[in-house]
């Protein structure tokens, strides 16, 4: 079915453009097995010259494996790769670079104390008299490359002093400097603010105009729609569809990715706030370096209300949550749960006051990866009845508890004795959500609750959060994903450099306004540290 689909599509494409689209890259019948999983199962992947091709799929669908094979990081067990019509054997990344294939990794490969130019020429330094690095020429070349894409960059700036968005541009220039014609972008927008995403798209479009071919890995479907010409969807190691972007829509792509229909429009009941659950007054706290991170923050959350905190990461959100949950001392200010002052209570007593916390750092804070599902599900209440009785833990109660929650929250695989590290990110998050919602919390703090999760899990977590709201719980939501903030929140607080810049009504605002507030643009502060 796959091959016939592709054939049909390419026929369509020809008809429309009235000319044969040149094939820049073709991967045929690629199979890659790992002992536990078939990561790529007879995958056919074709990219035309000069197009922006989105490669989408849930975590573990095989996108990264496929691109790693293309870039020479893995060898396929079987299958062929053609670049510009020629069969090639990509044994390592150097071969890929020679074939003019470039990769911009999700985690940047830059040396922070070196300058932009130094990073770009690293490994391919132009030489003067065969000995010295020809910095002048290198700098000029970097400037030319950046101007050709319509932006300016300071070639002498140090990487550690520039924002994430600019660092990404450096990565792109680095790839172009090595002569790439095919660019692979691995989830490039994951780390960017909405404005930076816009700018990145402009850059990619201008690269397309220059005739470059771009493969864009993502699982954000609005980006597929906004940017790409064609889209290949993968699920469980197989290609499940190839579409012209304009002939499809988000719902169709999502259902292809997940294998079932996905509900996109979050149905929200009207906002009916009750009594004030959490009141924070003039809260101040320091970060790990001893510098002020939370500066005079005050807000309230009422029963049946979701207060969303929008902000670029590192603007005090982490510290704010830690102070409320007792993991970090407040240097001044007060926190009230209903009328009870809980400022600087221990994490245990705050848990006992029924404040639940889905932590932003799932791997470090939220789970113990060497503990089983059952053991993780009692973390925080392990010392209380019925899990702890007399001298010893009560394994009957612990196991029953685990089996019930595994069933209620559809945690997979469903064996309570699996170690958490063997679960997927989405299921790990389900374990956390199940544990935190058990015991009817009064306040739920959800920090980056859907980060790194796939479409199906995101839908699930959102539904759980909304259920809690509709049950009359107060919810503090923190997310770097503006779409999430906008669709879930009843009120939105924008945080910048440890202060609440503004509290907005989601119905009367949009991503642009929030995005500007997030970067401090309206607070007369310099954008110097967008991180």
């Amino acid at each position: 079915m796959n091959t016939s689909n592709i054939l049909k599509l390419s026929v369509n494409y020809r008809r429309r453009t009235d000319q044969l689209p040149e094939i820049a890259l073709e991967m045929k019948d690629i199979t890659k097995r790992f002992p536990l999983v078939v990561a790529n199962d007879n995958v056919d992947f074709k990219v035309y010259k000069g197009e922006i091709h989105a490669l989408v799929g849930e975590n573990g669908a095989g996108k990264s494996t496929l691109m790693s094979i293309l870039y020479g990081l893995y060898q396929a067990d079987s299958g062929k790769i053609f670049v510009n019509g020629e069969k090639v054997n990509i044994a390592n990344p150097n071969v890929a670079i020679n074939l003019k294939i470039g990769m911009v990794h999700q985690h940047f490969m830059l040396v922070p104390p070196l300058t932009v130019t130094e990073n770009i020429i690293l490994g391919m330094e132009p030489k003067k008299n065969n000995i010295f690095i020809d910095m002048e020429n290198a700098t000029k070349r970097v400037e030319e490359l950046s101007e050709s894409m319509g932006f300016k960059i300071d070639p002498k700036a140090k990487i550690e002093s520039i924002s994430v968005g600019i660092q990404q541009r450096v990565e792109i220039i680095k790839v172009l400097y090595r002569g790439a014609e095919i660019l692979v972008m691995d989830e490039p927008t994951a780390v960017l603010t909405p404005q930076e995403v816009e700018e990145l798209f402009e850059i990619l479009k201008s690269l397309k105009k220059q005739g470059k071919t771009i493969i864009f890995i993502t699982h954000k479907l609005n980006e597929v729609k906004a940017l790409s010409d064609r889209v290949t969807v993968m699920r469980r190691g197989k290609v499940v569809g190839v579409k012209d972007t304009k002939d499809t829509n988000q719902e169709e792509i999502a259902s292809m990715m997940v294998g079932r229909k996905v509900i996109f429009d979050i149905e929200k009941k009207p906002h009916r706030p009750g009594k004030t659950t959490l009141k924070v007054e003039k809260l101040k706290a320091l970060n790990n370096k001893g510098l002020p991170a939370v500066k005079d923050i005050s807000f309230e959350i009422k029963e049946g209300e979701i207060l969303g905190f929008a902000g670029v990461e590192g603007n005090g959100q982490t510290e704010l949550v830690e102070v409320i949950t007792g993991l970090r001392p407040a240097s001044s200010g007060k926190i009230f749960l209903y009328d009870q002052d809980i400022t600087n209570y221990s994490p245990r007593s705050i848990r006992e006051d029924r404040i639940a916390h889905i932590p932003e750092d799932r791997r470090q804070r939220g789970i113990i990866s060497n503990y089983t599902v059952a053991e993780n599900l009692i973390l925080g209440s392990h010392y209380r009845s019925p899990f702890n009785k007399g001298l010893a833990l009560n394994f009957t109660a612990i196991n029953n508890h685990a089996n019930n929650l595994i069933k209620d929250f559809d945690i997979r695989p469903s064996d309570k004795d699996n170690f958490l590290k063997s679960l997927s990110g989405g299921n790990q998050q389900k374990v956390i959500v199940a544990r935190e919602l058990y015991g009817e919390p009064k306040l739920l703090i959800a920090a980056q609750p859907t980060r790194g999760l796939d479409v199906g899990s995101i839908e699930f977590v959102h539904q759980q959060i909304l259920n809690e709201r509709d049950k009359g719980k107060a919810i503090l939501l923190i997310s770097a994903d503006l779409e999430e903030i906008l669709s879930l929140s009843d009120r939105i607080a924008v945080i910048y450099e440890g202060e609440i810049v503004d509290i907005l009504d989601p119905k009367k605002t949009d991503e642009n306004e929030i995005g500007l507030l997030m970067t401090g643009s309206t607070t007369n502060k310099k954008l110097s540290k967008a991180r």
């Binding site: 221990s346 245990r348 939220g366 789970i367 113990i368 973390l379």
Partner: protein, 374 residues
């Protein structure tokens, strides 16, 4: 389902790495024996037949394994809380000295009081000595490795000073010969403080066992302590917290578990195990304190814990293996008239440890590689 099978295969491999290491180490030992000019098969036959071929051999093996079970558990227990307690040596000195002091001081107490009292003081001394690095780590973050090493030196010097202070009076022969007591050891502990040998039990059960064999009740205490350690770690709330702190201090803190409290508790319990070495070496064997009966037992505990994968059952098995090698090595040395030196055993032990570390890493890497892209 195919994938599940594969997974089990690797977990199994992970569990039996020490076994592979032992086999490889014996092969290396064989090479050394060949280089010496002996037949390795004959030597190993001699070693194992004497060590585990008869009851007397087994008794000697278990006697040598007993202190290593204690010190192995010391390292293993602390490790479960993410702590590297290499102060077993010092904790053992202090604990056993305290037990000795109680043993030769309260001589008029009956056995049913004095024996438990001595055992408790042995544990308490070790616990006290381990509490210092525990508290320093919990309160100030000073690394326990540094502090425990330093505490070892303090313990060694302190106990030596105390030995001279409580030096045994000269024996009648010495008085007759007009010489002073020159051996640095304490007076003997009271009869009522001495642990009976296992022979007494065997006699009661009508099992033939040599009366001179030194294996004593301390071995049963060691096995009991291993069971206790297992129970605490895996069956109680305390163990849940200790292991949580060991695996992920951040997650533990998030779950309302006091990291500082559990670090101190884990160190104290771990140190108590080390102190109990005194039950074997003093209460069951020499009946007095002298430095050379302890030397190295604390450090060998690190190797035992490593070989036993920090699991109480593994520690017991590893300690028995070390007991076999120690006793068998001595036998081989005697029977070959010194041609096979006892140092061969040290080589074997060291090679085992190196192979355990290597095979552990290799298997880990193998597993990581296979799991990498899921």
């Amino acid at each position: 389902m195919k994938s599940i099978k594969k997974f089990d295969y690797y977990t199994l491999l992970e569990k039996i790495t020490p076994l592979i290491a032992v086999v490889l180490a014996l092969l290396v030992g064989a090479i050394v024996i060949i280089l010496i000019g002996e037949n390795p098969i004959d030597v190993y036959k001699l070693l194992f037949s004497h060590a585990i071929g008869n009851r007397d051999g087994w008794g000697n093996v278990l006697f040598r394994a007993t202190p290593l079970i204690f010190t192995g558990l010391t390292v293993a227990f602390a490790f479960r809380c993410g702590l590297f307690n290499i102060g077993g040596e010092g904790q053992m000195y202090i604990g056993s000295f305290l037990a000795t002091w109680v043993g030769f001081t309260f001589t008029n107490l009956p056995a049913f009081i004095l024996i438990p009292l001595c055992i408790l003081s042995a544990a308490a001394g070790g616990a006290l000595w381990a509490a210092v690095p525990g508290i320093l780590k919990a309160k100030t973050g000073v690394h326990e490795v540094i502090v425990t090493i330093m505490m070892n030196w303090i313990a060694a010097s302190l106990t030596f000073f105390l030995v001279l202070k409580f030096k045994a009076p000269p024996t009648e022969e010495m008085i007759a010969a007009g010489v002073k007591q020159m051996i640095p050891h304490t007076s003997e502990i009271a009869e009522a403080a001495r642990l009976p040998r296992l022979y007494t039990i065997f006699k009661f059960l009508n099992i033939d066992f040599p009366a001179y064999n030194q294996v004593n009740m301390s071995f049963l205490i060691a096995v009991g302590v291993a069971i206790f350690a297992y129970y605490i770690l895996w069956k109680t709330n305390l163990g849940y917290e200790i292991r949580a702190v060991g695996y992920s201090p951040l997650a533990a803190e998030y779950g309302g578990i006091s990291v500082a409290k559990n670090i101190v508790l884990a160190m104290v319990i771990s140190g108590a195990f080390a102190g109990l070495v005194g039950t074997n070496e003093v209460m069951g064997y020499k009946y007095r304190w002298r430095p050379e009966i302890f030397t190295g037992l604390g450090f060998n505990g690190i190797a035992v814990a490593l070989l036993g994968k920090n699991h109480p059952l593994g520690v017991v098995l590893a300690a028995i293996l070390f007991g076999i090698l120690n006793y068998g090595g001595a036998i081989v040395n005697i029977f070959t008239a010194g041609r096979i030196p006892r140092e061969l055993i040290m080589i074997l032990q060291a090679v085992i440890v190196i192979f355990v570390v290597i095979s552990d890493e290799v298997v880990k890497r193998l597993i990581r590689q296979r799991r990498k892209i899921l």
